[in-house]
Symmetry: C2
Amino acid sequence: MTFALRPTRRLYAHLSTSNFVQCRTIKKEHTLKNGGWERVIPAFRSVCGEDGVSLGEAVREQHGRDESVHRCRPPDVVVWPRSVEEVSALAKICHHHHLHIIPFGTGTGLEGGVGALKGGVCFSLRNMDRVLDLHQEDFDVSVEPGVTRKGLNSYLRDTGLWFPVDPGADASLCGMAATSASGTNAVRYGTMRENVLNLEVVLADGSIIHTAGRGRRPRKTSAGYNLTNLFVGSEGTLGVITKTTLRLYGVPEAMVSAVCTFPSVQAAVDSTVQVLQTGVPIARIEFLDDVMIDACNSFNSLSYPVAPTLFLEFHGTEKSLEEQVTVTEEITQANGGSDFSWARDAETRGRLWKARHDAWYAALALRPGCKAYSTDVCVPLSRLPQIIVETKEDLMLNGLTGPIAGHVGDGNFHCIMVMDPNDQDEVIRVHEFTERLASSVSLML
Amino acid sequence: MTFALRPTRRLYAHLSTSNFVQCRTIKKEHTLKNGGWERVIPAFRSVCGEDGVSLGEAVREQHGRDESVHRCRPPDVVVWPRSVEEVSALAKICHHHHLHIIPFGTGTGLEGGVGALKGGVCFSLRNMDRVLDLHQEDFDVSVEPGVTRKGLNSYLRDTGLWFPVDPGADASLCGMAATSASGTNAVRYGTMRENVLNLEVVLADGSIIHTAGRGRRPRKTSAGYNLTNLFVGSEGTLGVITKTTLRLYGVPEAMVSAVCTFPSVQAAVDSTVQVLQTGVPIARIEFLDDVMIDACNSFNSLSYPVAPTLFLEFHGTEKSLEEQVTVTEEITQANGGSDFSWARDAETRGRLWKARHDAWYAALALRPGCKAYSTDVCVPLSRLPQIIVETKEDLMLNGLTGPIAGHVGDGNFHCIMVMDPNDQDEVIRVHEFTERLASSVSLML
C-alpha cells in the first residue's frame, strides 16, 4: 500500500501564485484542437529535442494512469525536459497556448492524480535525475525530480546519513513533496511537510522561484511567508517542482523490529495510544487487521498468526533501544499482546517491512482480477480504536473485502477495498461504505 | 532576549487571501481624516461597547510600541473585541472604510511589528483569553489570543502535559503563531511552525476561516493546501489569528541542565555541532559569549567563569538522560570544555534559564540609558563557528557592544547591539555592522 506519488492535478497555464485560489474552479476546456498542435509540437521539439516529445498512443496511455483503480486519462502529448530551463521554456509555451500542464514523476500514486482529465501536456521529469549539493555536516541534500527515495538512500549509503520518509513505493522525492507523502516512519520523523527545506518551482507562466530563497538551507527561518509548505502537498496545482532540498538524518546506531499479535483490534490500538502517550520515541508502529495479515501471509509466504497485529520498529543507541523495548513490551503485555517476534538483522527486518509495504498487492491477490481502491482517513488518536472497530463491523455487514492497514501512530489508516469493477452492485456498496466512513470521521474531528 | 510577539504589520482592509502577494507593496495612506472617525467610532462602540474603544493618547502610545528600540508609532484608535464575532464585525467596518488593522497581543516583540506606520486601528486581543478544548489523550489544546505561554503551562500543570516552545517572554501564543516564534527548545521540539495544528483567522473583509478545517485536530493531514503554515509567520499581514490549536507534549520524566565553559568560541560551537551530529536528542543548547556571560553575571548576581559558554538541557527518562549526558560530556571534554556545573532541581534550573532569558535586559544593563537592537541570523550548522568568530572580531574592531547569545543548535544567533541612540556615529556603525553581518550570512547560504 503506497501513497507516494500523486504529483499532479492540472496546472492551468494562466495561473500565477497571486491567484492560485481560483485554480481549482477553472472549468473551461483549453486543449488545442487538432490544428493547433502543428505550431506547438515543433516549439516543444526545439526545447527538448526530437526524442523529448511524444504523441505516441502507448506512451500517452502510460502517462495517463498511476497504480490506482482510476481509469487512464492520457495527455495529448508527453515531453521530457532535461533541466529547469527546459521546464521553464516548455511552461511558457503552454502558458501562451492555454494548455494544461501535468507533472509526472514515477507514476506510483494511488489517487489518480496524473490523469489528464481535460487533456494537456504531461511533463515527465525522469530525465532530471541528479543528486545535488549534499552537505553531510549540515544534514541536507538537494535532488531533481528523477531521483527516487531508494535512489537517494543508495547514494547516501556510505555517508552515515539517510532520508527516512517511506511511503512504500520507490517514488520520486519531488513527487513526494508535491503530494505531502508520509508513510510508516512519519510517527518519528514526520512527513514531507517537516522534511522539505526548500523547493525550486516552475510556475505556470514559466517563471522559476525558490520557495525559501536561492540556495538557502538553514534549519530554521521565519523570514517571509512559508511558501515551501504551500507547495508541499499542492499536488502540482501551483507549479512544477524541479528541485527539492531535504533534511537528512544520521543512520541510527541500532534498529530492531518486532511483531506482536493481539486478542482484539481494541487491544492493539489501545497499546499504540499508550506507547505514544508514554513518550517512547518509536520509529514505526503499524497496525494490520486479521484480514490484512492473512493476505500478507499468502502473498509473502509468511506464517504470522491471523489476528490483529502491530509491526513495530525502534531506532536509537543500543542502550536506548533496550529501554524503549522494555516499556513497549510492558504496555503490549498489559493489553494481552503476544510475546514479541523479533527481526534484528537488516535482512529479516527488510522482509518484515516488505510484507507491510506489499499490503496493496497482497490485498489485490485476495481476489484475482479485481481492482483495489484505498481509503485514507486520519482521526485524533483517542478516536482510533472506536473508528477501526466500527469500520470492520461495517465491512462485514456489507460483505465487502477491505483489509485494514494503518499508520496508527498518526491516527491514520487505510481500508484497501478490493472489488470487481464490473459488479455494479459491489461498486455502489463500496462507494456508500466510503461515504459512511468519511462522515463518521468528520464527526470525530 | 525575546522574539515572541511581533504579531503585526499592517493588514490592509481590502486584502483577501487571493491577492495577499500584493499586500506588502501597498503604499497609499488610508487613515481617515479627522471628520471620518465620527462615523466609525460609534460603529466600533456598537460592536464592543463603550469600554472597548479608546482614543486616549496614553492608551494609543502604549499600543504603538513593543520592547524594541523602534520608536512608538501609535494607532489612531484601540479596540478590545471579546470574541471572534466581534473581531469579524470590527474588521468589516475597517474594510468598508479602508482602515489598516494592527493585531496586538502582549507587546513583547523586539521587531517593532506593532507600530502603526500609516495609522489605523489596533485590535488588542487580551480580552479573548480562554483556553478551549483541551484533549489530553490527543495531546492538543486550543487557545485564544489573550492566553500566554506561561498562562497555558500553568493551566496544564496537573495534566502531565506542557507546551515547550519558549521564546523567553511571556508572549501570547497566537502572537507566537503569527510571528513563527522559536526559542531555546526549538532544537528538540521545533518552532511554532511544527507545533500549530490549526488556526481560526479573521481575514481583512471580516470573513472567518479555519486553516485546517473547523474543529479538525488529527496530527497529520494532506488534504488541501497547507494554509496553517501560510498564516504561521505571516506577522499579521494576512489576517487576525483569533484561535490557535497547539500540539502538546508529555512532561519528560526527568530534566537536567548544565553549564560548560570553553577555551574558545570555536570549541564551544564545534561541541554543539558534534553533539547534534551524534544524534543526542538534546532539549536546549544555548551559546553565550564571554561578554554575554559577564553581563548575565552582573544582572543576575551569578558567578559563571567569563568565557565562551554553553547552557545545556536534557529531557527524557532517567536512563536516557544518563546516556545523553555521558555522550555530551565526552564531546565537550574532547573540545577542552570544563566539567559540567549541574542544575538538577526545578528551582536551580529555573534560575539558570532565567539568566539566559534575561540576556536582553542584562545586555541593556551594560550601558544604562542605552537602547538595544538585536540581530537575528541563521546559517547552516557547519558555518556557525566561522561566522561567530568573524562577528566577534568585527564588533571589537568597530568598538561596538554586542554580546552574543544563540540558539546554536539551529544555527541561529543574536548580537544584542547596545547603543546610545543619540550618538549618531555609533548608530551608523551599528547599522553598517548589521549590513556586513547580513551579507556575510547570505554568502554562506
